[in-house]
Amino acid sequence: MTTYDPDTQRQLAVPVREPAGFVALYRRESEAVLAFCARRVLDPETAMDLTAETFAQAYRGRRGFRGTTEPEAKAWLLTIARRQIASFLKRGSMDRRATQRLGIQTPTLTPDQAEEIERRVGLPQLRVVLGEELARLSVDQRDALRLRVVEERSYEEVARSLGISEATARARVSRGLRALGVALGHTTIEEAGL
């Protein structure tokens, strides 16, 4: 993945509104966006969907981007990604409008590919950190998050295990993740080595 020094402020060689510029942006930043998403939703498949939707939305809105440097372009992408993640965590469902409108087929990950993403993004280590943070949450949220995130159960299984509705399970997981997000807010992209 390409890292950048914020002080360098490299100018974009080709504006992102041009096909070559947008493709270059994808090549430069797609891994960063994927990692950004994966570390927030802890699921490679979901992260890939969010990455696809982020770039699709960016493509549709590329003419509105006024930046001229690579950091600005990256910040713009991550803002879109952050909005996607927030929407996903709030609603518990994926927004695929932009990818559908553009006819973009999101790759389906093989088990090996999913494992590779987990490894390269550092999800196993992150799960350990999260385990420690989980202990500080309320019992309800912790149980829901433990089942969903640590044991990777489906929402239906989480709901069944806890004797609650699926909507309630989603809400508890969502609130728990938000609380963890606040707790882990100091972990920026740069600090995580991304």
């Binding site: 493709v23 994927l34 770039f55 493509y59 549709r60 006819g103 790759p107 390269r120 993004v121």
Partner: protein, 463 residues
């Protein structure tokens, strides 16, 4: 992460991003400027004109005709809310440039797969304001997914795939046939031509071949405008394909379309992912093409309905008054349409993969003594027709289906037979003119009809 090779999944997604980005860029600039000239009023500033030269202006979206409402449990249904309508990653450049052609694939609430054809701008699906459409405003008009009137649909197989091929001869470059009439149609319209929209400009007509080949569809080969064979890929999954060519003397624009389950005409061959190749062949004697296979089709499990399981009394009744008169555009008044209601109890439910169907026969009365010669006389009216009740029906529901029968020239007997079809009805869905096999008798009924003399008809119509 930076020291390692790129992830294959990101490369796959990157290929999609690249395809979309460069497909948009392939639109010829010259054509876009022509559009801008049509669309930009002279009073606009230079800055505004410069922007318009790179952007296709938007107009109001397409809408269903007033009063037309599509219901989730009727006909082909409406698009499903989740992933109900997807602009397929297919683009085909128009011979005159402008936004590329594309198709949108729909999954509906009545388990149909549908395909729509139109133009694609910035990933949006729509039509162009030309060829008599939207006052030739030169703008792009988005086509919302719930406007399904122009869709071509087929019931899905057991695996959720639809198989459908459309051969459209003489579609205006606007993307829809609504705005103008193909000259060949006008020539054969006779006195009705005054009611039809103006003729389409000949250079704006296209022959368009599109459809859904199913999961094994890989590509189609067609003869291009240069006379050479070209091959274009079909989309993975549903096998959507699209070809747009100019009409020629050998393949003239007729203003008609031919639906079929697999490609019959317009293409040279179909290639499948399992290695099979189907060459489109014509039978010299009949002039019909040999159909390609529905590769990958998974039939619905057969359902056995014992004779008598759906038997029910069928009754017929006629409304006391004919349908009110209508003044046609040519000034003539047509009136006296009769309303006949078929009534029976549905003992089994029906959905998009099973259906109740009625056959109607007009028979002369025995006392008329019609034979093969005087059958042609006015008093010996006969005729057959049929229809399908195209909606979900629950078990035990009383079905009332009202038909409109035109004026009668004699006093025939109407015979109605209702059957239940527990089978996949094939192309077009129930009630689109394709008679499935395997009907189970529900019941029959007859109703003597009487010709209403003109004076009495007028009195009934205008009491």
């Amino acid at each position: 992460m930076s020291d390692e090779r790129r992830m294959p999944a990101l490369d796959e997604l990157g290929a999609e991003i690249e395809r979309v980005a460069y497909a948009d860029a392939e639109r010829p600039r010259g054509r876009r400027r022509r559009w801008a000239l049509f669309a930009v009023p002279a009073a606009l500033t230079l800055a505004g004109a410069a922007y318009a030269a790179t952007e296709l202006l938007r107009g109001e979206p397409l809408r269903n005709p007033p009063g037309v409402v599509f219901r989730a449990d009727e006909g082909v249904g409406v698009p499903k809310k989740v992933a109900g309508a997807v602009v397929a990653p297919l683009r085909f450049a128009d011979p005159d440039g402008g936004p590329p052609w594309g198709v949108r694939v729909l999954k509906t609430t009545r388990d149909h797969g549908c395909i729509q054809i139109g133009r694609v701008d910035e990933g949006d699906f729509g039509v162009l304001g030309q060829d008599g459409l939207f006052g030739n405003d030169g703008r792009f008009h988005e086509w919302p997914a719930d406007v399904v009137g122009e869709s071509s649909c087929a019931p899905n197989d057991a695996a959720g795939h639809a198989f459908l091929a459309m051969s459209y001869s003489g579609l205006p470059a606007s993307g829809t046939p609504k705005g103008c009439t193909v000259p060949a149609q006008l020539r054969s319209a006779g006195r009705y031509r005054d009611r039809m929209p103006a003729a389409c400009p000949a250079r704006d007509l296209r022959n368009v071949y599109y459809g859904l080949l199913g999961p094994l569809g890989k590509s189609v080969t067609y003869r291009g405008d240069d006379g050479k064979p070209h091959t274009v890929p079909a989309t993975p999954g549903d096998g959507a394909y699209l070809v747009v060519v100019r009409p020629t003397r050998q393949r003239p624009a007729r203003g008609m379309f031919i639906p079929s389950e697999t490609p019959l005409t317009g293409l040279i061959s179909v290639q499948y992912r399992d290695g099979r190749v189907c060459r489109i062949q014509f039978q010299p004697r009949s002039g019909h093409a040999v159909p390609c296979p529905r590769a990958g089709y998974v039939p619905h499990p057969p359902r056995t309905v014992p004779a008598g399981a759906v038997r029910s009394a069928v009754s017929l009744s006629e409304a006391p008054r004919p349908v009110a008169s209508r003044r046609l555009p040519d000034g003539n008044i047509r009136s006296g349409y009769r309303r006949i209601t078929i009534r029976f109890t549905a003992r089994l439910a029906s959905d998009s993969h099973s259906t109740y169907r009625y056959d109607l026969r007009l028979r002369h009365r025995p006392e008329d003594r019609c034979d093969t010669v005087n059958k042609r006389r006015a008093r010996c009216q006969t005729g057959d027709t049929a229809g399908t009740i195209r909606r979900d029906i629950s078990a035990g529901e009383t079905v009332n289906e009202t038909l409109v029968v035109s004026q009668l020239r004699s006093d025939p007997i109407l015979e109605v037979t209702v059957r239940y079809y527990p089978v996949d009805p094939g192309l077009g869905g129930p009630g689109q003119g394709f008679v499935p096999d395997g009907g189970v008798l529900v019941g029959r009924a007859t109703l003597p009809l009487r010709r209403i003399p003109a004076a009495e008809r007028n009195r009934l119509l205008h009491p």
